[in-house]
């Protein structure tokens, strides 16, 4: 029955292929041109790594990259912790006072224009007289990315059979122990996915970081953005290619790690 509906028609395949080509071609072209020997970005001058060596000799760019990596690592970790706790509260807390405010505060930043989030956090930091730099950007990114972590972990929690937790408690576990022993291993893949998402979102943000950072502590996207405004440069192609490679490595490592832990979780569950 379903086979008849799920047949491959030329129209479906064409639209899918065109869509994927549209999504991937620009990135492929950017990566290829990062290995271009020519200074002119549009003329092919043979393969070369000169733009990569140029990046590693650019002190300001390296500083910005280091700042971005630290912000992304710290904010993703804090966001994963807070976002997981928030997901537990929403998925297992039943009804409580202020619940709709809580879920509203967590869902709104997902679609909120970044200029608003950035401006509002900056005004808070100024009012608190906080010195702007690493920590203010990290707090801002944590606030944004923990919402994404919450959504990812909450949807996983909602799909877990709750009778497993109840069985553990019938067998004498207290709720916390039942959660740690039964539920937590099952949601590890979602937590890992949430961390990855938080890390890449932080590494990507230019608007919120521009508002919340201070003089002298630009992140990599801020530096890339100010260079891009001045036009296309082969060195930027090289930096972008390295960022893409880094994100690819993070995705591969994290997804294999989460596969490993989820298979362990399955074998540990005595079913």
């Amino acid at each position: 029955m379903t086979r008849q509906v799920n047949r491959i028609s030329p129209f479906n395949i064409t639209s899918l292929a065109l869509g994927l080509a549209f999504l991937y071609l620009p990135i492929v072209i950017l990566v290829i041109y990062s290995f271009n020997a020519s200074r002119l970005v549009t003329v092919w001058g043979g393969w070369s790594l000169r733009w990569y060596t140029e990046f590693f000799n650019d002190r300001a760019m390296l500083d910005a990259a280091w700042m971005s990596l630290r912000v992304a690592a710290v904010s993703a970790t804090v966001a994963t912790l807070l976002g997981t706790l928030a997901a537990i509260g929403l998925a297992r807390g039943e009804r409580f006072k202020g619940r709709s405010l809580f879920s509203g505060m967590l869902y709104a930043p997902l679609v909120m224009p970044e200029v608003i989030s950035g401006l509002s956090l900056l005004l808070l930091f100024v009012a608190l007289n906080a010195e702007r730099g690493f920590w203010t950007v990290t707090i801002a990114h944590t606030t944004l990315t923990m919402c994404f972590v919450t959504v990812v972990v909450q949807s996983r929690l909602a799909s877990i059979d709750r009778s497993l937790e109840e069985a553990a408690m019938d067998l004498g576990c207290d709720p916390v122990k039942a959660f740690l022993k039964v539920t937590l291993p099952l949601i590890v893949p979602a937590i890992v996915a949430g961390w990855m998402l938080a890390f890449t979102l932080s590494l990507d943000d230019v608007v919120i970081a521009s508002f919340t950072t201070g003089p002298g502590s630009a992140t990599l996207p801020i530096r890339i953005y100010s260079e891009v405004r001045l036009g296309v440069k082969p060195q930027i192609n090289a930096i972008c290619t390295m960022v893409i490679a880094l994100i690819a490595v993070v995705i591969v490592v994290a997804s294999s790690a989460s596969k490993l832990s989820s298979s362990q979780g399955k074998s540990a569950a005595p079913l």
């Binding site: 047949r7 041109y33 706790l85 200029v115 401006l119 808070l124 891009v228 405004r229 972008c240 995705i251």
Partner: protein
Amino acid sequence: MSARSIFARPARLAAIAPYLWMVLFFLVPFGFVLKISLSQTAIAQPPYVPLFDLSAGWAAIKAALAELSLDNFKLLVSDSLYISSYLRSIFVAVTSTAILLVIGYPIAYGMARLPQRWQPIAMMLVIVPFWTSFLIRIYAWINILQHDGLLNKVLLALHIVSTPVVWLSTDTAMYIGIVYSYLPFMILPLYATLAKMDGALIEAASDLGASPGRAFWLVTFPLSLPGVGAGALLCFIPIVGEFVIPDLLAGSGSMMIGQTLWLEFFTNKDWPVASAAAVALLLLLIPPLLLYDRLQRGTLRGGG
């Protein structure tokens, strides 16, 4: 049942830390935006007249409240720069969302009709570009669209045009950038509703004599409307406040509200007017945000 209620208490306790975090770093900052949007511009650091100083006590707060001014908002409605950037933001967001729907629907439909085992792979392929940096994806398009970029080379080689076309700094470039960046946001909710749909309904329609096109418009499309709504809102809301894409790809002529806010803040250093623009942008977004929230609750309930 009782096990659940025992479980609920520690779960609520777990939510305390993120709750406080969101109140402090999401809710309270909006209070500051509102407050500063009502204060006077000053040439100082920070560049606004503080409205109230809590240490000065009640009398000072009362005096400050009396000085609240709507001047910034009056400026917003009287200056054509702001009005036109609002209208442009809405126009750009509506146009882009319509283009995204027209492009995204066939792709999502194609995905949902793939053999079951291929569907997760197709979904991965749509999500992966979303993981690569958004700024990098815009930059990739600048590479392609520049004067002697790949697009012009291809068009010249195919003799479609005789002289290079100016793509950068045009609305066309901006729409390409927006559609490119937001396409996964449109495809995924559409795919989610289309994949869930019962194929038997379409078979029933064709058994009853409907042509494939008629079956699509009478059965498939109406049933996919929740996905259309979710995808459209998921794109429309952030596009209204978009800054980076119009700044890098559109011309310097007319600005979107996100750009105006950025200009007031970073170039003119007029924080109160920037805050007023943010408040006005937020007011504009509240109806679609509430609508999105309702749709979201509906899907969560339906899914669970």
